[in-house]
């Protein structure tokens, strides 16, 4: 790698690199003064961040407000949990044995998410705007109620994963090991999607959210591109679901409720939609605010809700725009009419 290519990578991306460096140091900090719980809390934030990074690929760049990403999250988590469940019981699923090996169940989860995303995407992408929002909400609700009704996998009670999940024998020995795994996976997908949005494919996706009619007129039918994007997005969120199963060792329908979908949208928007890594900021703010506020007052949702309202009213571009907005105020420029 040449010096100039390093500069090209680092200079414009210094905020996200700084965040990742700080996150990588978090376990060290927790060792001297923090607690183990800090790592668990950050793990949760990073998993939600990854789920929202996946969502943001279609939300921020494709302009598709999906309220069904919790279901991709759930497909990822449930696939791992169900395979582990059969491994624990020693029985079979469709004639195949269960497994706690993530090198098997992980890819299986992503594959199922891809299939699910293609099937649902082909349906929901026919609609636009508010209809799209509702269509995705409906599909999310369907999977949610289906999982509640599915008694053999715990129904509303959810499922505990009893055997340790492992990578062909290698077990995650500690919370820190899980944390670093999550951090590396997140960094990988942030990098991957950053490349993707600048590629020709990414251009088509952004153009489709700008003006579909125009895109058709220059010879590109957006449907297939949107379907591919939707599928990639769903798969990334499903990876977050797999990590969730690893970290929580428990999955339940609550993980794929529409509220979780809405949380992901809130995380993405809070962080700012125009950057691939925006949701990382959103997730840290979301999880830490929820945690600290609920420690202070039982009416923390009141404060949290007011916070969301304040961000939307004052900073239409999300938290990322706070800095820009402050600079604007300092320079005393009049706001556009």
């Amino acid at each position: 790698m040449t010096l100039s290519s390093v500069r090209q990578l680092v200079v414009p991306n210094w905020p996200v690199l700084l965040i990742f460096v700080l996150l990588a140091l978090a376990p060290v900090w927790s060792m001297y003064g923090g607690s183990d719980f800090t790592i668990r809390l950050l793990t949760r934030a990073l998993i939600l961040a990854l789920a929202a990074v996946g969502l943001n690929f279609v939300l921020g760049f494709g302009g598709l407000v999906s309220l069904m990403h919790a279901s991709f999250f759930g497909v990822g988590a449930y696939t791992v949990a169900i395979l582990a469940h059969h491994d624990f019981n020693g029985d079979t699923l469709f004639g195949l044995p269960g497994t706690s090996n993530l090198l098997v169940s992980g890819p299986a989860a992503v594959f199922l998410a891809l299939v699910f995303a293609v099937a649902t995407g082909a349906l929901v992408l026919r609609t636009k705007g508010a209809y799209f929002i509702m269509m995705t909400l409906a599909l999310n609700q369907m999977l949610f109620f289906f999982m509640i009704a599915l008694q053999q996998y715990g129904g509303e009670d959810g499922m505990q994963i009893y055997l340790p999940l492992h990578l062909s024998g290698y077990e995650f020995g500690s919370d820190s090991a899980i944390y670093y795994t999550v951090l590396i996976v997140l960094a990988f997908f942030v990098f991957l999607l950053s490349r993707l949005v600048c590629s020709r494919f990414g251009n088509v996706i952004r153009a489709s959210s700008e003006n579909e009619e125009r895109l058709t007129a220059i010879g590109i039918s957006p449907f297939h591109y949107k379907l591919v994007a939707f599928t990639i997005s769903g798969a990334v969120t499903a990876v977050a679901g797999v990590l969730w199963a690893i970290s929580q060792e428990y999955v339940s329908p609550a993980d794929l409720s529409w509220i979780r979908s809405a949380d992901l949208v809130v995380i993405a928007v809070l962080g700012g939609l125009v950057r691939v890594w925006g949701p990382l900021v959103g997730a840290l703010v979301f999880v830490l605010a929820e945690y600290f506020l609920s420690d202070i007052t039982v009416y923390w949702q009141l404060v949290f809700g007011l916070g969301i309202i304040a961000v939307v009213v004052l900073f239409p571009g999300g938290m990322l725009s706070v800095w820009a907005t402050i600079r604007k105020i300092n320079w005393g420029r009049a706001h556009d009419a």
Partner: protein, 290 residues
């Protein structure tokens, strides 16, 4: 299924549909006219029920409480629109979803601070407390008949106001071209505020009418909000006629689905219906010309 049971279940479906229409009417109007997604519509539904339960306790008269609660919630809607929401008409749907999601959290906790977290009692009005015989062997709760009648009256009034009055013309004109309507001497800001307040009042009315038959508790607006959104998009955003037809359709499908299918299927039946309808008619049954 005997004839009597069939009639009774049809009435149940119709009544559930009309109830859903009451909740949806305000939502679809605001959605269609101001192009504003109000997720906090469910909170207004909840406020209606809580206020009415409180007024019933104070006054002891159901109908007086109903009027007071409808007016009070309309006022809350008025203030909400005037202070915050009107700044969001030109913003993206996403920002609106986020804003009103924030409102849900705030309103739930405000309710908890004022009324506590234990569900409130809300008795039936005395006059409608007994079931009536509608045909030999079929008794039906008179309060549900009242909901049915009230819902249909509201539907008729809405239709007449929007299609037959000058206010209705202003609303429709404002929906399609706000600036031009204003430049012709119509105070569109005021008209929109009134529409929102009326939407809030309708949500409250629905909440009040559901109070005596279901739990008046925090979060009661959220499941009903999702149903209302389903009705809105099936009917076509902004179409009152579409909302009425879609609501009755959902009421019927849900009622008969629950009786005829196992719960794993019946609980997703209405969503299935919606997905199917939107797959073939991506803008709902009656795309409003707004």
């Amino acid at each position: 299924m005997t004839t009597g049971l069939f009639v009774e279940q049809s009435l149940n479906g119709l009544q559930l549909g009309v109830m859903l229409f009451l909740v949806t009417a305000g939502l679809t109007l605001v959605f269609g006219i101001m192009d504003f997604i109000n997720l906090a519509h469910g909170s207004l539904f909840m406020f209606g029920a809580f206020l009415a339960a409180t007024f019933v306790k104070i006054t002891g008269i159901f109908w007086l409480a109903l009027i007071l609660a409808v007016l009070a919630t309309g006022l809350i809607g008025f203030v909400m629109e005037f202070l915050v929401l009107r700044r969001f008409y030109h913003r993206s749907h996403l920002d609106q979803v986020l804003l009103t999601f924030g409102f849900i959290l705030v309103f739930n906790d405000i309710t908890r601070i004022i009324w506590g977290s234990i569900p409130l009692p809300m008795p039936l009005p005395e006059i409608l407390s007994m079931p009536v015989q509608i045909m030999p062997g079929v008794m039906y709760p008179s309060f549900r008949i009242a909901i049915l009648v009230l819902g249909l009256i509201v539907a008729l009034c809405l239709f007449l106001i929007i299609e037959r009055t000058r206010l209705g013309m202003w609303i429709r004109a404002g929906a399609s071209d706000r600036q031009m309507t204003s430049a012709l001497g119509v105070n569109v800001g005021l008209v929109f505020t009134l529409v929102f307040a009326a939407g809030a009042a309708l949500a409250a009315l629905a909440g009040i009418m559901s109070g005596p038959i279901s739990a008046v508790q925090i979060g009661m607006g959220e499941p009903i909000l999702i149903l209302a959104l389903v009705v809105t998009v099936i009917g076509g955003i902004g179409s009152v006629k579409g909302a009425l037809i879609a609501a009755i359709m959902i009421g019927m499908v849900d009622t008969f689905g629950r009786v005829m299918f196992p719960p794993a299927i019946s609980s997703i039946l209405i969503y299935l219906l919606m997905v199917l309808i939107l797959a073939f008619r991506p803008r709902g049954l009656f795309p409003a010309n707004v």
